[in-house]
């Protein structure tokens, strides 16, 4: 199968969905003229024009707010946040408007909105350009949360997100954009709400998502050399969460590491770990161990950044703690 980058995969998803449905459009800063900071919108205006690929003022509030209004009135907007860190500027629009409107208005409205948010640590971008903030939204009823790890999933899930009639947050790790992987030429969809076992194993389950999937796979490789077989479960979507696949794995391995790049305290890993500990209590042979960024803002200088962000090593250590 041909290999394309994650960025390219999302670009194909956009183009295919825009071709399929004339109500799909995208708005954000520097997406039309520049093609997105990570090339993820490159060339779209050539096919779809500057009307459907809208450069906006620096107005995150208006970007998401107007996307909400457009979604309520027959369009299917994709709003780009530039960096996930700036969802803070659209927090009211996401949490108090988008997430609540369908419910609060008793089902009169539908709100087919996708918010794309490039997140994660890359190249010393420091405290305000490195965050992974998905956990905030796990706590907001009414949203769906998609957070893929491979070009294949990125494409299939973005298409599913655009077709979904509900507001979907789509987090894409900045360091993944350049990663290549197999993506079929034929059209496909990856359904929202299905986890994927990225590596089978019998000894320990590692529940993870986004870039940490790759660090978990690297760690699993190392550990396999010592005879420890790690099953890597890629959640792919956090809401709805495919807890069945997770529990099935846990009942087999009886040991769990939960890993993400977001800060450890109060991260999505807390919800995952608490759910496992609650629902698989009788199966667990060891405490569920959580791996996440240590609880400080992301520091700038490379040795500091390296100290706080978990990589393969931290996953391997967590696994060794419980086997």
């Amino acid at each position: 199968m041909r290999e394309i980058t994650f960025s390219q995969a999302t670009l194909e998803a956009m183009a295919e969905e825009m071709r399929r449905d004339p109500t799909v459009f995208v708005l954000g800063e520097d997406i039309a003229r520049q093609g997105g900071i990570f090339g993820q919108f490159k060339g779209l205006p050539n096919e779809f024009g500057y009307e459907r690929v809208l450069d906006t003022p620096i107005s995150e509030t208006a970007i998401v707010g107007s996307a909400v209004g457009a979604a309520l009135t027959g369009m299917r907007p994709v709003a780009d946040m530039h960096f996930a860190d700036f969802v803070t500027c659209a927090m009211d629009e996401i949490a108090n408007q988008a997430a609540k409107i369908q419910y609060m208005f008793g089902g009169q409205a539908r709100l087919p909105l996708v918010v794309r948010a490039p997140d994660g640590v890359i190249k010393s971008a420091a405290a305000q350009h490195s965050q992974s903030l998905e956990a905030w939204f796990v706590h907001v009823p009414g949203l769906k949360i998609v957070i893929p790890s491979t070009p294949y999933d990125a494409k299939g899930l973005l298409k599913a997100a655009i077709r979904d009639d509900n507001p979907v947050l789509y987090f894409e790790h900045k360091a993944l954009f350049a990663m290549k992987g197999p993506v079929p030429e034929e059209e496909y969809i990856v359904p929202i709400g299905k986890a994927d076992v990225k590596r089978p194993g019998r000894d320990v389950t590692c529940v993870t998502y986004s870039i940490m999937v790759h660090r978990a796979l690297e760690g699993a490789e190392d550990l396999a050399r010592d005879g420890i077989e790690v099953e890597v479960v890629d959640l792919r979507t956090l809401v709805p969460m495919d807890i069945d696949t997770v529990l099935q794995s846990v009942r087999k391995t009886k040991k769990v590491v939960v890993a993400h790049e977001a800060c450890r305290r109060g991260g999505a890993g807390a919800e995952i770990a608490a759910t496992i500990a609650e629902e698989a209590f009788d199966y667990l042979d060891a405490p569920v161990v959580r791996v996440g960024t240590l609880d400080v803002p992301i520091p700038f200088s490379p040795p500091l950044e390296a100290r706080v962000v978990p990589r393969k090593k931290e996953i391997v250590e967590a696994v060794r703690k419980i086997v």
């Binding site: 459907r52 003022p57 107005s59 009135t73």
Partner: protein, 328 residues
């Protein structure tokens, strides 16, 4: 001057709003309404004047003080009243209440409990209308207090940049809760802020419904023709407290009385009488009909059942199994 039908329609709308709000106040004080309610009494000319030139397919975006907007855009007082009483027959099946009324069937895209939360929703509706080439216009109602939120700025700039069919209507009723506009709004006329976005800014007497109507019509026509957004300010007054139950320590009774004398309905009645459009008896008949309609709405609402508790788990997601993922 608009034609007779329009005049009568506007007048009818105003008295229907007044009748609705007086009844809501009464029901609230009788303990029959949960939550908060914010009344539109004294401001009827704004919603009535602005919505009259709108088509049913046009959009409006409303505020926490939204009953008047709803009625003016054509929503049914029965389903409004049912919603305000928390009944399953309400517009939002009891999930929203006064602060979250919406009627998408008439283009009323919702009240909002967040002050200033509606600006960009209106911009989006206008953007959508423009992209779909539907000829629709989006009107955003907001208060003097709301004009200080950052959402105002981002919305007006974006609407101007994209030349959207959007009309921003400031209901300058002198107060934001207990805070006088003269204290918290750094310009006397909110319409002056239009300068910062290169769009027309117009201030009218918000208690003169025909002045409102004319200014709105012009702005709406311009928007529909592709001429871009307008900031329209209507100077008016909130006769009742900020919410029902407000002790109103922040203003003199005399100020309220002064404004009461400028009642937009009485004033319009004088005009209609003077122009020979409606005679007193006709006006009385319209008022009586409005009162009957509202009484009927109250009966409907009171007789309607409360939602089943488990309905709390529906409507979270569109086209999903009901209640999936709500943790019940």
């Amino acid at each position: 001057m608009p034609d007779r039908d329009t005049l009568v329609h506007i007048y009818t709308t105003m008295v229907r709003i007044r009748a609705f709000e007086e009844k809501v106040e009464e029901l609230f004080l009788a303990g029959k309404i949960p939550g908060f309610v914010h009344l539109y009494i004294g401001e009827e000319a704004v919603a009535s004047g602005v919505c009259a030139p709108l088509d049913r397919s046009d959009y409006i975006v409303s505020t926490h003080r939204g009953h008047g907007h709803c009625i003016a855009k054509g929503a049914s007082p029965r389903r409004m009243m049912a919603e305000i009483l928390g009944k399953s027959t309400g517009y939002c099946k009891g999930k929203g209440g006064s602060m979250h009324i919406a009627d998408f069937s008439v283009g009323m895209l919702g009240a909002n409990g967040v002050v200033g939360g509606g600006f960009n929703i209106a911009v989006g509706a206008a953007l959508s209308a423009k992209m779909r080439r539907s000829g629709q216009v989006a009107v955003c109602f907001f208060g003097d207090g709301a004009s200080n939120r950052g959402t105002f700025h981002e919305a007006l700039n974006m609407a101007s940049v994209f030349q959207l069919p959007c009309v921003f209507v400031c209901e300058h009723n002198q107060y934001a809760s207990t805070t006088p506009a003269a204290y918290s709004v750094s310009v006397r006329d909110v319409a002056d802020r239009a300068v910062g976005y290169g769009i027309p800014g117009v201030t009218v007497d918000g208690n003169d419904v025909l002045a409102v109507y004319e200014a709105a019509r012009e702005a709406i026509d311009r928007a529909r023709r592709g001429g871009g957004p307008t900031l329209l300010e209507a100077k008016t007054y909130r006769i009742k407290g900020h919410f029902v139950g407000d002790p109103e320590k922040y203003r003199d009774r005399s100020e309220v009385e002064r404004w009461k004398a400028k009642c937009p309905i009485l004033r319009f009645e004088d005009r209609l009488r003077a122009e020979g459009v409606l005679a007193d008896a006709e006006m009385e008949a319209i008022k009586a009909a409005a009162r009957r309609e509202i009484l009927e709405a109250v009966s409907f609402a009171e007789e309607s059942p409360y939602p089943d508790p488990d309905d709390a788990f529906s409507d979270l997601y569109v086209s999903d199994a009901q209640g999936e993922g709500c943790g019940r």
